[in-house]
Symmetry: C2
Subunit: 323 residues, 2 copies
């Protein structure tokens, strides 16, 4: 299982999409010698030109079909809504033994959309690096984005074992800890850890904006009081997040409904002045916080990384890259 | 209006309550020479003993009445629910020309509770330093907690002008920018910038905890994805926050109802797959985020502080104090 971390993991990597994640994958693969060659495709000519200027891939091509020719791995780094069309376009051109993967935040629909266009879906191993910032585009990416982060792979039972192994090694080389689970399980977990928090952040920022003008300017002024945290989350890429909610609808609606019921119960306790109910909830959640901190500090070292521990699991701001 | 920042602002300051905020006020007054003497009272003997060990006040006393004797300013730093009883206890003993103030997160009820026990409420100038951490107790405080933060004073029209001026200068000496508004206006603004965000954070952490066990441990594991931010907010002092919601009921219920309506509208858009609705909201909130950042960067320098600019308005972690 252990492999020397010296030679490249892949010959040729094809990146479809060169935004925050795609450009970070390129930079990380370069820095850690994970690939021999990277070919990149982006839909907009401006992005293609910028990536060429940045010099972070070996070749930039003008169609997704051109990108996947002779690739060992095809990694799709575009919004979820584009997967079906991309799969249709590249399907006939993906080499027989290439791995097809992605980095999207929802996995069940990702697999379904890719499998609809890619013959022999045993090549498909959907992936999700749990990493990102509020910024977008090829200039926003950086090599250390995936270091000490989880990357979740969600192969179906029929996926080729060697595809899973290779992809696991690729993400490890970029610094991530790799976990495996079913696409459906992934989508349920992320619904509560990520999708619902984002939805709530978007909502509260919108609610604040709709208040009367005299309140609103002061909301901005006094926004250190908790609100600011929400505005950071709510600045995330609108298209990406639109697609997350459209593609993880069932799991998101389920957690929203639970959240709604819990919030209404709290609203009722406040209206009725039930101080003990409130205090009990807040005491319980404080204990959970401590559990979260402890979980971050007690992740066992990954034997494939010579016993190094992940650092505390907080997003790295862009430009603050650590080798 | 400008005063030399050299001599003390107050002779004797009486601190009722010596937790995070009270102990930080003591440290800040010491560091910046704002007071000649500080007398402290805490309800628990353990806290009194610890504060004595820490040496951050000049005298620790065993009753609130003893604390306020000959004080120039009485600052109440206890949970909001204790104000009425404290006001009754100290009322007969507060010197005729002393200022009575507090640091609580809700102002209208604070004034009402204090005025019920303090004869001549023209001495009362409620205050709210918009600063804090998730930690509690006298060891959690630090001198720089209030630097470059807003402090809102909410005097009623009948408050003594010199009390307002002196208190303003005290908070400036501790490094804050001071603003003035009515108690009711304060409570409405804080309901959206602080109280609702906290309520939501508490709720979502509770919702996640109630999920099935197999989901829950992974929620903790993958909690970098937005959820972690919420857990930090939800670790705040349970008693303090219980009191906030009990004492700012009307304003909190109003923003909760608005938030609820907005969240339900979003839920409906997701259920109906209305991608454009979602994208429009997320685009709008991204612009607001930029407004928040700009507001933080363009606060005009305070002429009373020789033109220095506040630093970016983010909470300082404990132990990370900057002089």
């Amino acid at each position: 299982m252990t492999q020397p971390e010296t030679g490249p993991v892949l010959g040729r990597l094809a990146l479809i999409g060169l935004g925050l994640i795609g450009s970070s994958v390129a930079r990380a693969c370069n820095r850690y010698g994970a690939t021999q060659e990277i070919v990149g495709y982006a839909r907009s000519s401006a992005t293609r030109a910028r990536v060429t200027e940045l010099g972070i891939v070996d070749r930039v091509v003008e169609t997704p079909e051109a990108a996947v020719a002779d690739a060992d791995c095809v990694m799709i780094c575009t919004p979820l809504s584009s997967y079906a069309a991309i799969a249709q376009a590249i399907g006939p051109h993906v080499p027989a033994d290439a791995i097809v993967t992605d980095v999207g935040s929802v996995k069940a629909s990702a697999f379904a959309d890719l499998a609809a266009g890619i013959a022999d879906p045993s090549r498909i191993v959907p992936g999700h690096p749990i990493a990102g910032t509020e910024h977008s585009g090829p200039d926003a990416g950086f090599a250390a984005l995936f270091r000490d982060r989880w990357c979740v792979l969600t192969p179906r039972p029929e996926a080729r074992p060697e595809a899973v192994t290779t992809l696991t090694e690729l993400w490890r080389r970029m610094g991530s800890r790799v976990e495996r689970m079913s696409p459906e399980h992934h989508d349920r977990v992320l619904a509560i850890t990520s999708h619902l928090p984002h939805l709530i952040a978007y909502t509260i920022v919108g609610t604040a904006t709709d208040l009367a003008d005299d309140i609103r300017s002061e909301v901005i002024k006094y926004s250190a009081g908790g609100f600011r945290d929400f505005t950071r989350i709510a600045a995330s890429d609108p298209v990406m997040w639109r697609d997350v909610f459209l593609h993880n609808k069932d799991a998101v609606l389920e957690v929203m409904q639970r959240f709604n019921e819990d919030l209404t119960a709290l609203q009722r306790a406040i209206r009725r002045g039930e101080g003990q109910t409130l205090e009990d909830l807040f005491t319980r959640t404080r204990a959970i916080r401590r559990g979260v901190i402890e979980a971050g500090q007690h992740v066992p070292p990954d034997p494939a990384r010579n016993g190094t521990q992940p650092v505390e699991d907080t997003p790295s701001p862009p430009g603050d890259a650590v080798a």
